[in-house]
Amino acid sequence: MTLVAPATVTAPPRSGRKPRRDNRFAAWLFLLPALAYVGVFFGYPLAANLVMSTQDYTVKSFYTGEAPFVGFDNYAAVFDNPLFSTAVLNTALFTAGSLVFQFGIGLALAVFFSGRFLGSALLRSLLLLPWLLPLVVSGAVWRWMFDQDHGVLNAALRFVGLDAVPWLSSTGWALPAVILTNIWIGIPFNLVILHGGLRAIPASLYEAASLDGAGAWQRFRHITWPLLRPVTGIVLMLGLVYTIKVFDVIMVVTGGGPANATQTLTTWSYRLSFQDFAFGQGAAVGNVLILVATVFGLLYLRSARATLAEAAA
């Protein structure tokens, strides 16, 4: 990474090296509180989880603090478990399905609501309401709506002449059902942040493009999309992290069932720890998730760096 940004070159020459060192020192001062917080609050849990995954950690270990070291046995046990592949597949489907639709719908709504029309601001704020509900509440409401016999979704399907769907009681439909719930929960997040990103794009660009005769799609394609990239990147990355670790939604709506059809790595990790009392294995699954995030984090950084380079060019 080149440290000399074009802007610094144009700055009037004071003394050769001082500004940059000054800059670095100031930067660290600005970063200090965040660094201290992250170190204190995440260092210990992260280390504890890593250590636990290499131990035969039982309920007894909580009290005595002693757990024998077992190397990679927990990881081996997890990979050997027939549920592992189920959980991986479900996690992948859940994450991909949620992300694509949350982002797609969120972006479409953000574009729609950024046009100024009567009530646009109010309607947009209203869309945040689902976030104010405790998950035990929104989960329960969705569970009722999904009910096979008397749920309102099936009533609607029957009304338009379709067959009722066994949303939560069939192994084939349960995953789509929880994905649907999660999309619903995730739309406001995508909408609001992308909307903020859209607002940051100067209106003059659009006006100029209109004068040049660019249509709505062309304006989106050549102005909105490229200028939104830093925000798009972070929304997708955060969305990925939040979606992979979704726990409450699944627990409230299906509990991981029926027959493990909605068991993801996160719910399985919890189950290994608190139902099977295999805390080491639960921690190992948690670390697998951290590893997955690491890979995507690296990809994100690479693309973000590319964006930065573009912006600097």
Partner: protein
């Protein structure tokens, strides 16, 4: 113009239907929505749920507001300077920190809760507002830094460099250039910090004992026993809890719009 409003209302209506269903449930006896013909309108309604919720949930609501606002404050106070440094000052190792911030968010909630309980019980931070605010900030600080950084990257360097040339220190540049320009992003980050803290259940239940205060997400369990669930009361509590928070949200959104118009002058 009119057509867009109608379409917008329609979208909101569809997306908020589950909320209407909750409102409907809060006005009907437990299990009423699972009968063969669920009542779309609470015609034979009952206000029992609201009566119960009002009598027991008021203090919990207050606690939740305090914790959520505290979290917004702490998160922004720590995240904003850090984002400025990461986005504008190009620190060596900055990308590593960004990377770490992404990774730490993957630590399972229960692992965080277990670890924080141990530390907090040693420090006397159990049943303490500050303790809960600091714990809730584990979700919001990484989020706020990443989000603000993404927005601050697009603040033109010329703007900050010019201020530096004028002889302003980094702190003044941060305060008088970066913060006003990023007002929009700050409100967005603050908004979600509020919502994250508001919705938190795990830290709340782990780090409070109910002896001194209790956030609403835990308070709602007054209606959920190991063998019973009073849906009427639960839904009523959820509706009541959503009202003050919704007002806060709308006010905040107004503020965004206001910030935009004043910011627009600079363009």
């Amino acid at each position: 113009m009119k057509a867009r409003t109608v379409f917008g209302v329609l979208i909101v209506a569809v997306l908020l239907f589950p909320l209407y269903w909750m409102l409907n449930a809060s006005l009907q006896p437990s299990g009423a929505l699972l009968r063969p013909d669920p009542a779309f309108f609470p015609v034979d309604g009952t206000l029992d749920g609201y009566r119960k919720a009002l009598s027991s949930q008021g203090p919990h609501l207050f606690s939740s507001v305090v914790v959520a606002l505290g979290t917004v404050f702490v998160s922004l106070a720590i995240a904003a300077p850090a984002s400025y440094a990461l986005a504008q000052l190009r620190v060596r190792g900055g990308p590593v920190l960004v990377f770490v911030l992404l990774i730490v968010q993957m630590i399972p909630g229960i692992v965080m809760a277990n670890a924080l309980y141990t530390v907090f019980s040693n420090l006397g931070l159990i049943d303490n507002y500050l303790g809960l605010v600091l714990a809730d900030s584990t979700a919001t600080i990484p989020f706020a830094i990443l989000l603000l950084r993404a927005f601050m990257i697009s603040v033109p360097k010329e703007l900050t460099e010019a201020s530096r040339v004028d002889g302003a220190g980094y702190w003044r540049t941060f305060r008088s250039i970066i913060l006003p320009v990023s007002r929009n992003a700050l409100v967005t980050a603050g908004l979600f910090s509020f919502l994250f803290a508001w919705a938190d259940f795990l830290f709340a239940v782990t780090l409070t004992t109910g002896q001194s205060f209790e956030p609403i997400t835990v308070g709602i369990y007054r209606f959920v026993g190991n063998q019973s669930a009073d849906w009427n009361g639960i839904m009523a509590t959820a509706v009541l809890a959503a009202v003050p928070a919704a007002v806060l949200l709308v006010v905040a959104q107004r503020y965004v719009v206001a910030g935009l118009t004043s910011g627009a002058v600079k363009d």
